[in-house]
């Protein structure tokens, strides 16, 4: 629901970074998005397209890598994937806070990130131009 505002923060941060390096063009952007965020990737892509129009990011490739959720159990030491609710009412795997190993309550330690991993910038060195 808040993809547009999150994506506009992403675009703003990248434009700032590009300016710092006097970049001519942003070629590629690599995002990590945790599966536990409430960010719909299709909406992120759509917002991105709208937001980059008319900027040096226009036409850049947006690469999104989805990151799995990770939980940790303080009772048995388990660290890994969630236990999922197996009720057929859910059409998507619904994670629960039950430890898959011992059943105790787990803590979420991964899968909530939305990180700009890296950006590829086209930098014009020494006034050299790429356009004819």
């Amino acid at each position: 629901m808040h993809e547009f505002s999150v994506t506009s923060q992403i675009v703003e941060a990248i434009l700032k970074e590009a300016e710092k390096h006097s970049a001519k063009k942003v070629v590629e952007v690599h995002l990590d998005v945790g599966k536990l965020t409430f960010l719909g990737l299709e909406q992120v892509r759509f917002s991105y397209e709208v937001l980059v129009k008319g900027t040096i990011m226009e036409g850049s490739k947006l690469r999104i890598e989805e990151k799995d959720g990770i939980v940790k159990c303080s009772s048995c030491g388990y660290k890994g994937d969630f236990q999922y609710e197996d009720d057929p009412i859910y059409h998507i795997p619904t994670p629960t806070l039950h430890c898959p190993k011992c059943g105790e309550t787990v803590e979420i330690v991964g899968g909530r990130e939305c990180t700009i991993r890296d950006v590829k910038l086209l930098i014009d060195e020494g006034g050299k131009t790429n356009a004819n």
Binding site: A13, F38, L97, R117
Partner: protein
Amino acid sequence: MKNVVKAEEGEIFDIELDFNILEANRKLATENKKLLQKNGIKAIDVMGSIGSGKTSLIEKLVHRLKGKYRMAAFKGDLTTTIDAELIARHGVDVVPINTGKECHLDANLIKKALKRINLKDINLLFIENVGNLICPAEFPLGSDKRIVVVSVTEGPYMVVKHPFIFMDADVVVINKVDLAQAMGVDVKKLKKDAKAINPKAKVVATNCRSGEGVANVIEALDL
């Protein structure tokens, strides 16, 4: 027309950023929490669906806890101060937060609101989030505990349809239980659904108009 700018190998620079957008909010939330703790203030974030009774619950809690705590409330809404005024009737300081179009409160708005109250005057703060069972879960505010309120008038599937927010709840309140029969909703099933997602959450059934169950919410919050 000029030719299309094409990137040549060697002119492209790969810049590692490692910048977590959501982390910015989390950092602010941690700062808020520290500020609250420094001033000895417990903060409770009340999330939940639209019309589930978040304001009624806060009203009842404020009313009952008046002798024990010095309280204030932040009331998030897209617009209006209608609910903020309802809480203010109980003689507590209320800061209305109008988000405009945003679907949730965030740590930055709370940071701003904290500047509007005298932190030395209170030791308990209720933060009512915008009515929404999705987005508020993504944005911690710096509270000690988070409540999620749903009510039976929203039907029997509110928990299973919005499982994610319940993972963040310390206390789940199922409100308007006096209407359960008329709505054909099984409160026990709703409780079970919440526990299936989050075994550590305390689940309390209430009727926030009469006050039924409010004492159990106070107990669940360790207040």
